[in-house]
């Protein structure tokens, strides 16, 4: 056991058991998997990704390049760091060999996001962040403070003094003050991405430890919009690359200190501290105080006076001008290979822990995400923030300010607490590696990438860091090069003989640390992935046993199968009912736009291909809308309600797009037009009552309306009321049959629908769905926009030249019809296809080829004539039929073409697109 009494912020009164690689270990609340393992002198059974070498724990937090574990229980989660996984009872993890494993079952845990707004967001609750938050909160700002560790204080260990008190007392007092000031303070919350305008994403780990979460979410993404973002994320210690530095037992110096003070764990008994920086002296003395035998090897010619003195007080030998060249050992370090700076001699210094420290890299990633520049500072051997976007600040170690007294001052200004100044600090010696065999000097331990790999990259002709990164994979692992990135640049600079500032850098990208997909999905799963839109009549359809189809976000009743019916049977039955008696369909999803104002006719004349100004009040006209390119964009009926008022209907899928399109023209192109548009899609529900008996049904329900053909002609509308509720009736048919559309406020739609169904009962009124509607309209050759068109089809191609006004000087799209391609006789045109066998239903989407004498396809590429856009069994025709877009189709009427269906070539005859009642006799009943 390497647990040390008197150290650590763990709860020793309770124990937890975690299982790592099949062995159960006891730890305490407050431990991580890494600290539990180190407390038992153990490590995860990791192997490296390329060479399969053993890997241990390399650091105490997210910068660890090696200590990866796979969580198996309570739920599999891949590639987490032992140093960041909190030890909870029953946790089962194992070491990984470079790849994680996903669960085979869905994750039932809940995730969410929450929006937060504040004046100031402070990232990091170390000394800099706490003081920055305190200063802002005292000034009356609304403050959010996030920090990724379980407790505030950052790297403070308790040995420091702030405002004359032990540092952790200062931390506790400050946390209490922040709470009193109303600061939203979130620990275990990692700010992982920073976007424009103060937008920061932070992942809160709320309950990895709690097995029974109830309805609460396991992780939450806070979407924080801050007036000002203060990055106080600290710094990441930089190692020095030596031979075999990937061996378990090599660790960052500050991490060993962190493990001691946070978890009461001594990571080694025989410790060599190899440093080129002052901070590691504190690690040396703290570990010695806790019982380790420590030796300090300082690469610099001079050791810091205070540090040396404190070492001497404890009997810690300090050798200056001395380098560690490598490590010895099998599965873990047993000795460091040591030599003087000026000598080639090597000696082995036995140890079970080699601590390395080559200085500190500011963790300014969040400033970089949003475009902040970085500038290399040769004094600290690292990049520090340069030019920052407005309302972004970086303070403390993240800004390259490493001395506690300076950090506090920088973060707090005149209000700052004080700490004793550093005594005689020695400048950092910037040292990327020591002399040694480059094939065994690991630059990125996570990727098994060595100095030799960098050498090969340079030898291959690469000079840019991005190339070297991609050639060697340095910096691409789970840690995204938190410790290796700068060293790779330093070594690249060395190898190419350039100063590091000329080498350039790679770019920090979100996220700062990995984030689970599910956390980013948040609540948008299952039914909440995307809204299910339903009409006012939905409950009726459900009760009637409807099958639904997704049309955009809408769910529309597709058909209403009766017992034993498949869709084909149900649709044949529904079609027959409409053609022979009466059916009823919910058409409420049609888009509806109230177009009002003196210039309403002008607007519609410009946007529809046909004339709408000539439409008389009380009448209805079918209209086609095209884009500037002249291709059909939408269609629908237009009711003229008054001289200055129309009701425009659109297709279901295009309702929003058409309104947007009309608003765009109106607001940006013709703002002088006195017209206003109002969406009334959901204001009005529509029941389509269709079939020869529809007149009876409507006449029964609306007894005071004269529904005769003479009084109520085709393509006219009338207002009436039912029990005092206004109702609009319109004779509009999408089936060719006598039909009425009944429009009522959606409040009353279910009640009115029931009345219609009741009144239709004597005629066997049959509810029908979208599939039947599609068949009926196809029998009449009416196209469905988006099914029989694909954005490349003009009204002329659809055989709707009649809907394209020749009287108007212009309308949107008109000019495009004069383009050469629009006059191409081989444009595809909408026609019908009747399979000559009278039996085959051609699959929709099938391609059409020219007649082949031998009944076989020629070798590819086979010229295609067009494709089948719609295809159905027809009850009325007692055979299958199809609509198709065929090159020069209207010139080919009567021709037989072929359609590959599976391995067969099915012959089909081209015909007019209208197959049922071409003379239009049925529409008047």
């Amino acid at each position: 056991m390497s647990r040390v009494d008197g150290y650590g912020r763990i709860d020793r009164s309770r124990t937890v058991t975690v299982t790592v690689d099949g062995t159960a270990y006891t730890g305490h609340p407050g431990d991580t998997v890494a600290s539990v393992l180190l407390a038992h002198d153990a490590r995860p059974q990791n192997t490296s990704v390329k060479y399969g070498r053993p890997r241990g724990i390399g650091a105490a937090w997210t910068e660890d390049p090696v200590g990866l574990v796979q969580v198996e229980e309570p739920f599999p989660e891949p590639m987490l760091l032992a140093a960041t996984v909190e030890a909870t009872d029953g946790l089962v993890v194992r070491g990984v060999n470079g790849q994680g494993r996903l669960a085979e079952v869905p994750d039932t845990a809940r995730y969410d996001r929450r929006h937060t707004h504040c004046d100031v967001l402070v990232v990091g609750a170390g000394p800099a962040g706490l003081v920055a938050a305190r200063t802002a909160a005292r000034a009356g700002r609304s403050v959010v403070l996030v920090d990724d560790r379980p407790t505030a204080g950052g790297t403070l260990t308790g040995t420091e003094t702030i405002d004359g008190r032990p540092s952790l007392e200062f931390v506790a007092d400050t946390v209490a003050e922040l709470a009193a000031l109303g600061v939203v303070h979130l620990q275990r919350t990692t700010a992982f991405g920073h976007y424009d305008d103060g937008f920061v994403l932070a992942l809160e780990r709320r309950g990895d430890c709690v097995i029974e979460m109830g309805p609460r979410t396991r992780q939450r993404v806070h979407r924080i919009r801050a007036g000002r973002v203060v990055v106080a994320a600290g710094a990441i210690e930089r190692p020095v690359v030596v031979e075999d530095n990937d061996r378990p037992g090599v660790m960052l110096a500050a991490s060993a200190r962190d493990l001691l003070h946070r978890h009461g764990v001594l990571a080694g008994r025989e410790v060599v501290v190899f440093t080129s920086d002052d901070a590691a002296y504190a690690a040396a003395t703290d570990l010695a105080d806790a019982g380790a035998r420590v030796r300090v090897l300082d690469a610099r010619e001079r050791a810091p006076q205070a540090g040396r003195r404190r070492c001497e007080d404890r009997g810690i030998p300090v050798e200056t001008g001395t380098l560690v060249h490598g490590t010895r050992g099998e599965d873990r370090v047993t000795a460091a290979l040591v030599g003087a700076l000026t000598s080639s001699e090597r000696r082995e210094v036995p140890c079970d822990l080699l601590l390395v420290s080559g200085g500190w890299n500011p963790a300014a990633h969040l400033a970089s995400h949003v475009g902040g520049s970085l500038a290399y500072d040769p004094v600290i051997g690292a990049f520090r923030p340069g030019e920052l976007p407005p309302d972004v600040a970086v303070v403390g170690a993240a800004n390259g300010t490493f001395a506690l007294a300076d950090i506090l001052r920088e973060a707090g200004g005149p209000d700052a607490p004080v700490a004793p100044p550093e005594e005689w600090p020695e400048p950092t010696l910037v040292l990327w590696r020591t002399p040694g065999d480059p094939t065994r000097q690991f630059v990125d331990v996570a990727r098994d990438a060595t100095v030799a790999d960098v050498e090969r990259a340079v030898g291959a002709g690469m000079t840019h860091p991005e190339h070297v990164k991609r050639y060697t994979t340095i910096g691409t692992a789970h840690d995204q090069g938190k410790t290796s990135g700068i060293i790779a640049l330093g070594i690249l600079a060395e190898l190419t003989g350039r100063p590091i500032q000329e080498v350039g850098t790679t770019t920090a990208r979100p996220p700062y640390t990995p984030v689970a997909f599910a956390a980013l999905a948040g609540r948008e799963r299952g039914d909440l992935f995307d809204p299910v839109r339903t009409t006012a009549l939905h409950a009726w359809h459900v009760a009637a046993g409807a099958e639904f189809e997704d049309v955009g976000q809408w769910q529309r009743a597709r058909h209403y199968p009766q017992a034993g019916e498949d869709m084909t049977a149900a649709v044949l039955r529904e079609c027959a009912a409409v053609r022979t008696s009466v059916g009823i369909m919910d058409a409420s999803t049609l888009g509806k736009i109230d177009v009002r104002g003196p210039d309403a006719p002008v607007l519609l004349d410009r946007l529809y291909t046909n004339l709408m100004s000539s439409l008389k009040v009380g009448r209805v006209r079918y209209g086609v809308m095209c884009g500037n390119d002249g291709m059909v964009f939408d269609d629908g009926t237009v009711l003229r309600l008054a001289e200055d008022r129309y009701l425009v209907t659109t297709t279901t899928g295009n309702a929003a797009a058409v309104l947007d399109w009309m608003e765009e023209w109106l607001q940006t192109e013709w703002p002088d037009l006195r017209v206003r548009l109002t969406s009334v899609t959901e204001q009005w529900s529509i029941a389509a009552v269709a079939g020869p008996r529809s007149r009876d049904v409507i006449g029964t329900v609306f007894a005071d309306v004269d529904v005769s053909n003479e009084a109520f002609g085709f393509m006219t509308w009338q207002d009436t009321s039912l029990d005092g509720v206004p109702v609009r009736l319109a004779r509009i048919s999408f089936s060719g049959e006598l039909a009425f559309e009944v429009t009522v406020s959606s409040w009353y739609a279910p009640a009115l629908w029931e009345r219609l169904v009741e009144a239709g009962a004597p005629h066997g009124i049959t509810p029908y769905g979208t599939e039947t509607m599609h068949v009926l309209r196809a029998e009449k050759g009416y196209p469905i926009i988006g099914q029989d068109t694909d954005g490349t089809v003009s009204p002329h191609d659809l055989g709707m030249a009649w809907a394209v006004s020749k009287k108007k000087d212009d309308f949107v799209g008109k000019r495009s019809y004069a383009r050469p391609e629009n006059r191409n006789p081989l444009r595809k045109q909408l026609v019908s296809l009747l399979p000559t066998d009278g039996a085959t239903r051609l699959p929709e989407g099938s391609q059409i080829v020219a007649h082949c004498d031998d009944g076989r396809l020629p070798p590819a590429p086979v010229p295609m004539l067009g494709h089948v856009t719609s295809s159905y069994h027809s009850a009325a025709l007692a055979r299958p039929f199809a609509l198709a877009l065929v090159k020069g189709g209207r010139e080919r009427l009567g021709e037989v073409v072929h359609v590959p269906v599976g391995d067969e070539l099915v012959a089909a005859r081209i015909g007019e697109s209208v197959l049922v009642d071409p003379e239009g006799a049925r529409r008047d009943g």
């Binding site: 065994r440 997909f517 490349t792 929709e844």
Partner: protein, 415 residues
């Protein structure tokens, strides 16, 4: 170096070693027969085929930053040829055939892996469009099948084909020959071949203007001096408009951010490529084990190589919806490229008003997969001074005549 144990081979052990020499970082000379502007995949492939197929080697490839550091370094490496229209199928299938022999041609392990692509259909209209595309592909000699949900699950067992998701999978088109390749290696392979052919690859050389003489361009002004050019081949993707502005030429291009992301390394779970337009996500698992994903373009023009996070959040929601096992995979890194999109979602290749300047742009999200095919055809175009038949349908004049190749109508398949 040996493994400490006899455990199974680590996942990174079999990745190929790179050659010891890739390319020569050249100093610009004063004049070249052909100056290729843009050292991405298309520029390098064009250079390679100029040398290989046409013996033209007095060529410079000018790159404003680091070689292949634009969209080539940022794309999600999907390769497929199952496009709807004959014109698109022609160029992409030609590319796919070249991909199938590219490792040999380049003598470089580009990790081309033909693992197939599923394009999922979630609505009735998706199904129609899918069948239409499959049937067209077949007649064009492109491998394509329509699969029902059960067959989808056989090809990719982790796809949720149950009917209780918001937009149930109704089926998918499947192109078995589709695949992925390692984007950097592809670029480096072309660069290496071009460099071997003594073509000059010039990095950190940004074009700042053109020297013109009536309807000819005689030279290219760069941050490293003016370079005389017999012919200029523009392969600058998202930056094309900037170059055309210098020439006073207009093209219907808009540059948008397009984001992509990767997970950490994972044990193999995803054997193929899955794309879904309806829920906006596409995923493959790369050789080392990371999930590589992308979504739709950000809506507005942007050269910032940054996109909005809500696009990624939405994509993650779609991914977890379609692949429940991805729930605890982790987003490791996200980034953005700049894609140049055209009104009909098809590229623009061919003549410009300058007789010796040829244009290649507007590939949107399709650039990577076309790389060898475009390079092959564009080199031929440059060498002969007229559009190769495979790229002829993609001339700038189609926007005037109306003969568009509209790939976002029925096919509506991005990437």
């Amino acid at each position: 170096m040996t493994a400490g144990t006899t455990a199974p081979k680590p996942p990174g052990a079999d990745l190929p070693e790179h050659p010891d020499h890739l390319w020569r970082d050249a100093e610009p000379r004063r004049a070249y027969d052909v100056v290729v502007v843009g050292g991405g995949g298309h520029g390098l492939a064009t250079a390679h085929y100029l040398a290989k197929n046409h013996g033209i080697t007095n060529v410079a490839v000018l790159e404003k930053g680091w070689l292949a550091g634009g969209n080539m370094a940022r794309n999600t490496t999907l390769i497929r040829s199952n496009y709807l229209w004959d014109e698109s199928a022609g160029i992409y299938e030609h590319a796919l055939k070249l991909w199938e022999g590219l490792e040999e041609d380049l003598d470089y392990p580009i990790l081309f892996s033909q693992r197939g692509v599923l394009n999922l259909a979630h609505t009735e209209q998706d199904v129609r469009d899918s069948v239409r595309r499959v049937e067209a592909n077949k007649l064009n000699g492109i491998d394509a099948e329509w699969l029902g949900p059960d067959e989808v699950a056989k090809v990719c067992p982790i796809v949720n084909v149950s009917s209780d998701i918001r937009y149930p999978v109704q089926g998918a088109t499947f192109q078995p020959r589709a695949g992925i390749a390692k984007h950097d290696y592809v670029a480096w392979g072309f660069a290496r071949r071009a460099s071997e052919a003594s073509i000059d690859i010039i990095q950190d050389c940004e074009v700042t203007g053109f020297v013109t003489d009536a309807d000819r361009v005689t030279g290219v002004r760069t941050t490293r001096g003016t370079i005389a050019a017999g012919t200029v081949a523009l392969c600058a993707a998202g930056h094309t408009s900037t170059l055309l502005d210098m020439l006073g030429v207009r093209a219907p291009l808009q540059s948008h951010p397009l984001q992509a992301l990767v997970s950490e390394l994972l044990e193999p779970v995803h054997p193929t490529i899955v794309m879904s337009n309806a829920v906006h996500v596409y995923v493959s698992q790369a050789h080392k084990g990371e999930l590589v994903m992308g979504a739709g373009v950000d809506s507005y023009n942007g050269y910032g190589q940054r996109g909005a996070f809500h696009v990624i959040e939405r994509q993650m929601a779609a991914a977890v919806e379609l692949f429940p096992v991805f729930a605890r995979a982790h987003l490791l890194r996200s980034w953005a490229g700049i894609v140049d999109v055209t009104p009909d979602a098809s590229p623009i290749v061919g003549h410009t008003p300058y007789e010796n300047v040829f244009l290649n742009c507007g590939w949107g999200t399709g650039g990577f997969k076309a790389t060898p095919g475009l390079g092959w055809a564009f080199a031929d175009t440059v060498a002969h001074g007229r559009p190769h038949p495979l790229v002829a349908p993609f001339g700038l004049d189609r926007f005037v005549t109306g003969a568009l190749v509209d790939e976002h109508g029925a096919a509506a398949v991005a990437h």
